[in-house]
């Protein structure tokens, strides 16, 4: 979005104009303290991607097939927790018992070229699934921003993507296979197991282990990706039209700049174009440098940023959707994201921007706004509700707790439901009030896991107490 050269010029101009202005974050924050690589018993540490969740599981398992998985679910010490890509910020995975990876459950096992369905092993990473589906002429209608997740992890946490008329990933599945704590394997779908299907589709890994998923896909199409910088007031005013007119649309508000980056993807028959290497990571670091140097003066920070940003041309790329919708995000961060009723999304965002720009000059990560259609999964944040998402991020080395503590009450006041994998402080009583079918989902969960073998400390707080 913003070239490194532009930022170098920006800093040069700033230094000349504001000679004497000190950077308020002059040095890189230190690396957060790491836990020991092993505990006293010799168990290797597990940490999530951002590093804030950790555990020393006494057993790790990478089963090769359902029989091996069923056997270990019966015999291994609990809590039994599956890990996908480790991208959840909430403590869904930590266990002192058994940590299971489905990395060996990889690839497409069957597909129907007429119905456009594909059955995919649950450990398949989204980064490889797109290419594999393209080879059979299929495409997932929606994809999240990051491509590292496993398919099972993505649906189990209601990982989404964006598009007013598009479902989150779990909204496009027609069935899955579930191995429960007793080793039983169940084919779940809306006809044979309607309650289990509705409850466990977004199941947090608390019902059992999903081993394969059947996706209802779309024909593979090229899409045109456009990235345009727009004043935040224009973007917020036009958000309903932007959602109606574009297949996928999202925007990032660049804090203290008054500017948004609006990203749209629409189907096209135009020929594919070369795509230059992504500059997203550079842009993020540039925003950090802008904060480091001009965080002491929000007005100057905004003025200088606008001067530079107004020179940035729109970006246009044409390619297959799976190539363009998901991205490499190698700069680690922590994140809070809530899904709100679509009609209040912009009002909530306005409050959040104001709160950050008055109170938190340290914020430099863009604030993300997306849209998702309603669905019927009982534990889906989009259950019977067209939703607008708002996500706030913090660099992994910097304080996220006080920032998110300031933002969360705003999101909750607007009726937000948290992304299951992203930071929040809700517990069972909150979920019960936010999800109309929560009690039924919890009852179904208990019926397939009566001993709570899949419940770690956090999931106990979600489902039990």
């Amino acid at each position: 979005m913003v070239s490194r050269r532009a930022l170098v010029l920006l800093m040069g101009g700033t230094a000349a104009a504001g000679a004497g202005a000190a950077a308020i974050w002059p040095r890189e924050a230190p690396e957060p303290p790491a836990p020991p690589a092993m505990d006293a018993q010799g168990h290797t540490v597990w940490r999530n991607w951002s590093g804030i969740q950790m555990a020393y599981p006494q057993a790790r398992a990478a089963p090769a097939n359902e029989d091996e998985l069923a056997d270990l679910l019966r015999k291994s010490p609990g809590p039994l927790r599956c890990v996908g890509a480790g991208h959840s910020f909430m403590p869904l995975v930590p266990t002192p018992g058994t940590l299971i990876t489905l990395d060996r459950f990889d690839g497409i096992t069957a597909h129907d070229p007429v119905a456009l369905t594909a059955t995919v092993r649950a450990g398949t990473r989204l980064s490889t699934l797109g290419r594999a589906l393209a080879a059979i002429g299929q495409d997932m209608p929606n994809l999240p921003d990051i491509n590292k997740q496993s398919l099972a992890g993505a649906i189990s946490t209601a990982t989404h993507g964006t598009g007013e008329a598009l479902h989150a990933i779990h909204g496009n599945i027609t069935g899955f296979r579930l191995v429960t704590a007793d080793g039983k394997i169940t084919d779940c779908d809306a006809v044979r197991t309607p309650e289990l299907f509705a409850a466990a589709k977004v199941g947090l890994g608390a019902f059992g282990v999903i081993t394969s998923v059947t996706l209802r896909n779309a024909p593979m199409r090229r899409v045109e990706r456009l990235v345009r910088l727009m004043p935040v007031e224009d973007t917020m005013h036009n958000w309903p039209a932007l959602k109606a007119q574009n297949r996928n649309v999202e925007f990032y508000y660049l804090p203290f700049t008054g500017t948004t980056a609006v990203i749209t993807h629409n189907e096209t028959d135009q020929p594919a174009t070369p795509r230059a290497p992504s500059v997203d990571n550079d842009t993020l670091l540039d925003l950090k440098h802008l904060r480091d140097w001009l965080g002491w003066s929000p007005n100057l920070r905004r003025t200088v940023a606008r001067r530079i940003l107004q020179t940035v041309p729109p970006e246009r790329v044409v390619g297959e959707a799976w190539q363009l919708l998901s991205n490499e995000r190698s700069i680690r961060f922590n994140e809070m994201e809530f899904h709100l009723p679509a009609e209040v999304q912009m009002a909530a965002l306005r409050e959040i921007i104001t709160a950050i720009e008055i109170n938190r000059p340290d914020v430099f990560f863009p604030i993300e706004a997306r849209a998702i259609a309603e669905d019927d999964a009982w534990l889906s944040p989009f259950y019977q509700r067209a939703s607008g998402s708002i996500a706030v991020h913090a660099y992994y080395k910097e304080d996220y707790k006080s920032l998110f503590a300031m933002i969360e009450p705003i999101l909750r006041r607007y009726g937000g439901r948290p992304h299951w994998g992203k930071l929040n402080h809700l517990s069972k009583i909150d979920f019960a009030s936010l999800y109309p079918r929560f009690a039924e989902a919890a009852a179904v969960r208990k019926s397939v896991d009566p001993e709570g073998r899949f419940l770690n400390d956090y999931l106990q707080r979600v489902f039990v107490s």
Binding site: V8, M11, G12, A15, A19, G20, A21, A22, A23, P26, E31, A34, P35, P36, A37, M38, T44, V45, W46, R47, N48, W49, S50, G51, M54, R60, A62, V83, A85, G86, L99, T101, D103, R104, D106, R125, S127, K148, P277, S278, N281, W293, E328, S330, I331, R332
Partner: protein, 121 residues
């Protein structure tokens, strides 16, 4: 003093491109084709490490690009392994390879940090 800080930082930007000599980045298909000979390690590498270490955009030290690894290997094998297991900077703990043992991680570091000619797979 403050003025000096500005100049130093500016100089840092200007000099950023003039640092230690960097080996050429191999083409994407060359990077993608580099895999450990050992089948088990190759599977682990493909499922985890390659997501960052075989893609120039990810910003991680690239497989077989010796200059990317020099400063890291200079710290010693033990430090590098500890950083890999615990997580450090852009590197998430264990490379998010959940089936990897510490010995696997050490072997994968050796594989990735061994320099290769830019066209070799």
């Amino acid at each position: 003093m403050r003025h000096a800080m500005c100049i130093i930082t500016l100089a840092g930007f200007v000099l950023a491109g003039c640092g230690a000599k960097k080996d050429p980045v191999p083409a994407a298909d060359i990077l993608a084709a580099r895999h450990p000979a050992n089948l088990r390690l190759s599977l682990l590498y493909g499922q985890s490490c390659a997501a960052c270490h075989a893609h120039a955009e990810a910003g991680a030290p690239l497989v077989g690009v010796g200059s990317d690894w020099q400063a890291r290997t200079a710290q010693g094998d033990a430090v590098l392994l500890r950083h890999a297991l615990e997580g450090y900077n852009g590197m998430p703990a264990g490379g998010q390879c959940f089936a990897c043992t510490p010995d696997d991680i050490a072997a994968l570091i050796r594989f990735m940090s061994t320099p290769l000619p830019p066209t070799a797979t």
